[in-house]
């Protein structure tokens, strides 16, 4: 029996809008094993970031269970939640807006340690900051620098150091490299991977960039309009994508090699509205293979070991 650190069951988040309920996250379930990485992939508006924030209860879910190390996060009181958050951290997408511009690197990294009273004396805190800065590869001279003086890569290292400060077991990385240049992106990805190996961290890796998620994840869940449409181990998903949306998504990645570009599967139109989406397959309006049966929402079914797809026409096309 695999050691499950996080289990999400039927997680749902609706937002009330003037035109009706916005289905941001619509009944999704998955499990994450300790020390592994789950990639959550999708385009803007598919609900992947909301999923991440709901798991940490930065956004209150509408319904569903989030079981982290045996505790249902949804049922915790504010105090218990604050305690539980020491084990669950978030790395933000934009290292420009996720660091308080009026605080120095030292203050930023020590904040989680001081507020949670993890270490008592000032000397201990300073020791720990020094250790964390070395771990994420920030030069000593940046100790009292302000974030606006630093480039994106270094800022993201600060964000990582903050997340690590409380020695969490599980980190949600919300597009941690999409604001960075490619050469810096590789530095950060390598750092995250090293840290995972050293500290045995479990990750949920949220991204729109399939080449990055492929590199990083053990398992990938593809989201579309609040639903998981396909979930499989990374190799399996890339070798044998089954859902029409996954196929289109994979073929749309520009590949930096001559002659490597596969025939693009262009999907028509744009993502439809997440407000009151009805009971048809979420991808129905854009799907090249849509038929009458697709007016009914398909369930996520296991088509081969560990490979789940939500599509009526699997095996037909």
């Amino acid at each position: 029996m695999a050691d499950t650190i996080l289990e999400v069951k039927n997680l749902t988040k609706y937002f009330k809008t003037k035109r009706g309920m916005l289905h941001a996250v619509d009944d999704i379930s998955f499990k994450l094993e300790r020390g592994k990485t789950l990639g959550l992939v999708g385009e803007s508006g598919c609900g992947k970031s909301t999923t991440g924030r709901t798991i940490l209860r930065l956004i209150e879910p509408t319904s569903g269970e989030i079981i982290f190390e045996g505790k249902d996060i949804n049922k915790l009181s504010n105090r218990e939640l604050r305690h539980a958050r020491k084990d669950m951290q978030l790395i933000f997408q934009d290292p420009y807006s996720s660091l308080d511009p009026r605080k120095t690197v030292n203050q930023l990294i020590s904040e989680p340690i001081v507020t949670n009273k993890i270490l008592k004396t000032k000397a201990e805190v300073e020791e720990r900051v020094a250790e964390l800065m070395a771990t994420v590869g920030l030069a000593p001279r940046l100790f009292n620098s302000y974030p606006h003086e630093l480039d994106g890569g270094r800022r993201q290292r600060i964000g990582i150091a903050r997340a690590l400060a409380m020695e969490p077991k599980f980190i949600i990385c919300d597009e941690p490299v999409s604001a960075l240049d490619v050469s810096i992106q590789a530095q950060i990805l390598n750092l995250l991977k090293e840290l995972q190996g050293e500290l045995g961290l479990s990750f949920i890796f949220i991204t729109h960039d399939l080449s990055v998620v492929n590199h990083f994840s053990d398992e990938i869940a593809v989201m579309y309009l609040g639903k998981i449409v396909e979930k499989a181990p990374s190799e399996e998903l890339f070798a044998n994508p089954m859902h029409p949306y996954t196929k289109a998504l994979l073929s749309a990645i520009p590949i930096p090699e001559l002659g490597a570009q596969k025939e693009r599967i262009l999907i028509k139109g744009e993502i439809s509205s997440p407000i009151e989406p009805g009971n048809e397959c979420r991808f129905y309006k854009r799907c090249n293979y849509a038929c009458d049966r697709c007016r009914e929402l398909p369930a996520l079914e296991e088509v081969s070991p560990n490979h789940f797809v939500a599509c009526h026409r699997i095996g037909e096309v």
Binding site: L58, F92, S97, L99, P101, E111, A134, P140, L142, N144
Partner: protein
């Protein structure tokens, strides 16, 4: 180099070599470049020095309120630079001595309104919803009453003294700070670093006063310098109406009011106190403008 992470540990001494540089040094550097703002600052400093020194240099009874009826209505001369008033008192001395009233009323009133207003504004902006609604609606009620009228009402209710004047003007301007602070807080509240602080376990109070407030300070600071100017003006208006600092204290507004009766024949009695008010208000405004530019991060890059 900070990549190729060598997994050695830094010593704390190594880190502490790198001194902390303050944000204010940066602001001062920007401020210095603005010549008109520096003129404003210079005048403000000069006024403060004058106010402090005149308090100790002059004797209130002998130099300021002592009447010498034989010397009344003397034109400005080498002996009486700004002339003398209807009681034969030296206008220059009185104006110099009066600086302490205007400045202290302006500054204390602003301190009161800023402390109260900003706290309310931050709370309103942070919590939103019902809390915000209550605070803002109460503010609107106060804004609906003209500030001088509100000042008159408070002065009338609590009696005429310089302390009441300070509180009256302070209260009058609370809604202004409250609304400024709330407006400044709103965009900051939505920033990702606030969410980041929450994830790091910081509570509501810490988020409001350690993260949100420092990041919404610049409009508030500007409001403060401008507020001193309007505080001085309101104090003068109230004194002009006879409701401010009690006579015979040489408050500038009160002097203006006294001189008004003789404006046709002895215009200097109104011109000099008026100039004093104008220069003070202008100096604070110039300084406020400069501060706003110096604090605006958009102009930095």
């Amino acid at each position: 180099m900070d990549n190729n992470t060598t997994k050695r540990k830094y010593s704390v001494e190594e880190l502490k070599k790198y001194k902390k540089r303050s944000m204010w040094a940066e602001v001062w550097r920007n401020f210095k470049k603005n010549r008109t703002a520096m003129v404003g600052l210079f005048i403000v400093i000069a006024l403060v020095i004058i106010a402090v020194f005149s308090h100790f240099y002059y004797d209130y009874a002998a130099d300021i309120v002592h009447q010498e009826l034989k010397d009344r209505f003397q034109k400005p001369s080498a002996e009486h630079w700004f002339g003398t008033d209807s009681f034969g008192r030296d206008v220059f001395t009185r104006i110099v001595y009066g600086a302490q009233y205007s400045l202290s009323v302006g500054i204390v009133a602003v301190a009161i309104s800023c402390a109260l207003g900003t706290t309310l504004g931050v709370i309103a902006g942070f919590y939103g919803g019902v809390t915000e609604n209550i605070i803002l609606r109460v503010c609107e009620v106060f804004v609906g009453i003209p500030s001088v009228l509100l000042g008159i009402a408070i002065m009338a209710a609590f009696g005429q003294s310089i302390v009441v004047l300070m509180f009256a003007i302070g209260l009058v301007y609370v809604p202004m700070y409250c609304r400024t602070a709330r407006a400044a807080v709103l965009p900051v509240r939505g920033e990702e670093y606030i969410e980041a602080a929450r994830i790091a376990g910081v509570g509501d109070f810490g988020i409001m006063f350690k993260h949100i407030l420092p990041n919404s300070l610049s409009p508030i600071i500007v409001q403060i310098t401008m507020g001193v100017a309007s505080g001085i003006l309101t104090a003068s208006s109230l004194s002009f109406l006879g409701l401010g600092v009690p006579l015979p204290s040489p408050e500038w507004g009160a002097m203006l009011s006294e001189g008004r009766a003789y404006i046709r024949d002895y215009g200097y009695l109104t011109i000099f106190p008026g100039l004093a008010i104008m220069i003070t208000v202008l100096a604070f405004n110039l300084m406020g403008d400069g501060l706003r530019d110096a604090l605006d991060p958009k102009l930095k890059q």
